[in-house]
Symmetry: C2
Subunit: 304 residues, 2 copies
C-alpha cells in the first residue's frame, strides 16, 4: 500500500489529477487569498471567491496581487456568503469549500441546512492531517477541533470520516490508533473501555476498510521502540495513520504542541458533508491554509 | 524573579546546596540505578537502595559498576520495599523517594498509609517538568499521569502542588495557564468554566503565590505571537511556567508528543506528600530518571 511521507507527496498526487474548483466563503483575508492564489498558480485548482469585493481588492492592491475581478461574487454578509458558497457545491459549480475570515459555526450551519445544505446525515468531524518531522508519514488526528466530548457513536463516526479520507488518499486499510493515557483497559477510564469496543467492532466488520487498535498510548502509536519496551504487539504500533483522541482537549493540546515545538505542518479538514471543507483557525498561517486546500483537492470527489 | 532556562541551570542550583539523600524503592532496574549512581558521582546526593540485593548486584556486574554493598537494604517483596522506603523518610534518614521497578499504586499506598505513611492530607498529583527546545524556560505540566478526571477542588490542589514546587525552585509567583481547547468561556465546555473560576479564585486570594490565567489555549500559553494574533493580553501569554491541563489524556498526549517529536526532556515528580517522589514510567530513559532526581533534590525540603 502506498503511504504518503509528506505534503509534498500529497501535492504530487494532486497534480496528476484534474484541477478542482474551490469556493471560498468570506475570502476577505490575506492568508486565505494567498493560499488560494498559490494553489491556482501551482496548477492545483481554480477558485470562486465569495466576500466583500472592495476589501478583497484593497487587500490585493496592498499585496501587489492582480487577479480577474470576475472571480469574485460580491457579498458583505457572513451568513449569505456561507449560503452562496454551499450552493455552488450543491449545483456542481465547485468541488469543495474553504472557510475564510468567519465563524466556523456559520459555515457549518449553511452546510447542514436541511433544504439548501450539503449534509449527508453522517457526523461532521475534524481531521488535522499532520506532517511531523521524525515520523515517517502523514498522520491524521481526529478530533481536536469540533466534537467536545464524543460519545461512542460519535467516535465510530469520527473513525469512519478519517478512514474515508485516507481511503481517498490511496490507503486501502489505514491503521487507526484509538489513543488513551493507558494501553490497557481500566474500567475507571471510559476512554479505554470505548477503545477496546471500537477495536472489537472493527474486527467484527462494523467499521470497514481500516485496522483499529486500542486502547493504545500515544508513544506506542508513534514509536516502535516504545512498543517494544512496553511489549505491545500490533501492526498499528509505531505505524499509525490515524489517531483517534478521546476528547477535544487532548487532540487540541497534542496538535498545538507538535505545531509549536515539533515543527509539524498541518492541514485542517472537516469531513462528513458531500464535500470536504478546508477549515483552519482564523489565526492559521498561509502554509496551513495552502496544505488544507491541497488535501481537499485530493479527497473532494469522495461522494459526488 | 529568577527563571530556570533548562535542567542544566536547575542542576547548578542543586550543586550549591547540601547533598540530599534519596531512598529508592525496588531499585533492581538498570536505568534507575544508572540515574542514582550518576547523581551521586555528580555530587548531588547520597542514596539508599531498597530491593533484591542479588538482582542489583547481578545488574551491576553486567554493567561493570561497583558500589558499596552497605548501600542496599535487601528486600524481595514490592510492598515491603515501598514500606521500608517510606519509613526512611518518616524517620529522617532520607529526604525523598524514587520509584524503581514497581507499580505506582504500591508506592503511593505506602506513602498514604495513615499510620506509617508520609501523607499530608493534601492531594497528591503529578507534575511533568519539561525542558522544550524552542521554549525559553522550564515548564511544569500537571497532571498527565495520576488524576484521571480532576474535579474543581482537585484542580485547585493540582495548582497548589505545582506552585509549591516552583516556589521552591525560586519562583516567587509562577505563571499558571489553565489551558483548554478554547481561550473563551463556553458553557458547553466545563473546563473553560472551571478555568475562569480558578482565575477568579486566585485573584481573590484563594490560591497563593502565583498568577493564574484561564481559560487560555495552549498556543497562547506558549507563544506571544499566537497571543498577539488572537488579541489575548495577559502576563501569562507566551510565558507560562505551569500548564494545568483539563484531564489526564490531554496532559499525557501533549507531553508524549513533545517528548517524541519536540526533543523535550522530562522530570516526573509527584507532589503532595511530606517529600517529593521521583516517579517515572517503567519505560523511562536513564535521562528522565536522572532529571527527576535532580528536581527532587531541589524541592525536597518542602515540608520537613
Amino acid at each position: 500500500m502506498a503511504e504518503l511521507k509528506n505534503f509534498q507527496e500529497l501535492r504530487s498526487m494532486v497534480l496528476k489529477r484534474p484541477r478542482k474548483i474551490v469556493a471560498v466563503s468570506c475570502a476577505n483575508d490575506w492568508h486565505t487569498l494567498e493560499a488560494v492564489f498559490k494553489a491556482k498558480s501551482d496548477g492545483l485548482l481554480d477558485y470562486v471567491l465569495i466576500g466583500d469585493k472592495n476589501i478583497i481588492k484593497e487587500i490585493c492592491r496592498e499585496k501587489h496581487q492582480n487577479f480577474p475581478e470576475g472571480d469574485i461574487i460580491h457579498c458583505t454578509d457572513e451568513k449569505k456568503s456561507a449560503e452562496i458558497t454551499v450552493s455552488l457545491v450543491r449545483e456542481g459549480k465547485a468541488d469543495f469549500l474553504q472557510k475564510g475570515l468567519m465563524q466556523t459555526r456559520t459555515i457549518l450551519k449553511a452546510v447542514l441546512d436541511k433544504k439548501t445544505g450539503i449534509g449527508t446525515g453522517n457526523l461532521m468531524s475534524n481531521v488535522a492531517l499532520l506532517e511531523i518531522p521524525g515520523y515517517h508519514k502523514l498522520v491524521g488526528v481526529t478530533d481536536g477541533g469540533m466534537i467536545i466530548y464524543p460519545t461512542f457513536e460519535q467516535k465510530v463516526g469520527m473513525i469512519k470520516n478519517a478512514v474515508r479520507m485516507f481511503n481517498y488518499m490511496g490507503y486501502e486499510k489505514p491503521k487507526v490508533a484509538v489513543t488513551c493515557a493507558l494501553e490497557i483497559v481500566n474500567p475507571k477510564m471510559q476512554e479505554t473501555v470505548d477503545a477496546a469496543k471500537l477495536k472489537e467492532m472493527a474486527e467484527n466488520g462494523g467499521i470497514d476498510n481500516c485496522f483499529v487498535e486500542g486502547p493504545i498510548s500515544t508513544d506506542i502509536a508513534f514509536s516502535k521502540d516504545a512498543a517494544k519496551v512496553k511489549k505491545f504487539e500490533s501492526p498499528v504500533a509505531g505505524d499509525a495513520d490515524i489517531i483517534l483522541v478521546p476528547n477535544i482537549n487532548a487532540g487540541n493540546m497534542m496538535v498545538k504542541g507538535l505545531l509549536l515545538f515539533g515543527h509539524a505542518k498541518m492541514a485542517g479538514v472537516v469531513m462528513g458533508a458531500k464535500c470536504p471543507i478546508a477549515l483552519n483557525s482564523r489565526s492559521a498561517s498561509f502554509e496551513e491554509k495552502y496544505f488544507a486546500l491541497v488535501a481537499c483537492c485530493l479527497i473532494s470527489d469522495i461522494v459526488g
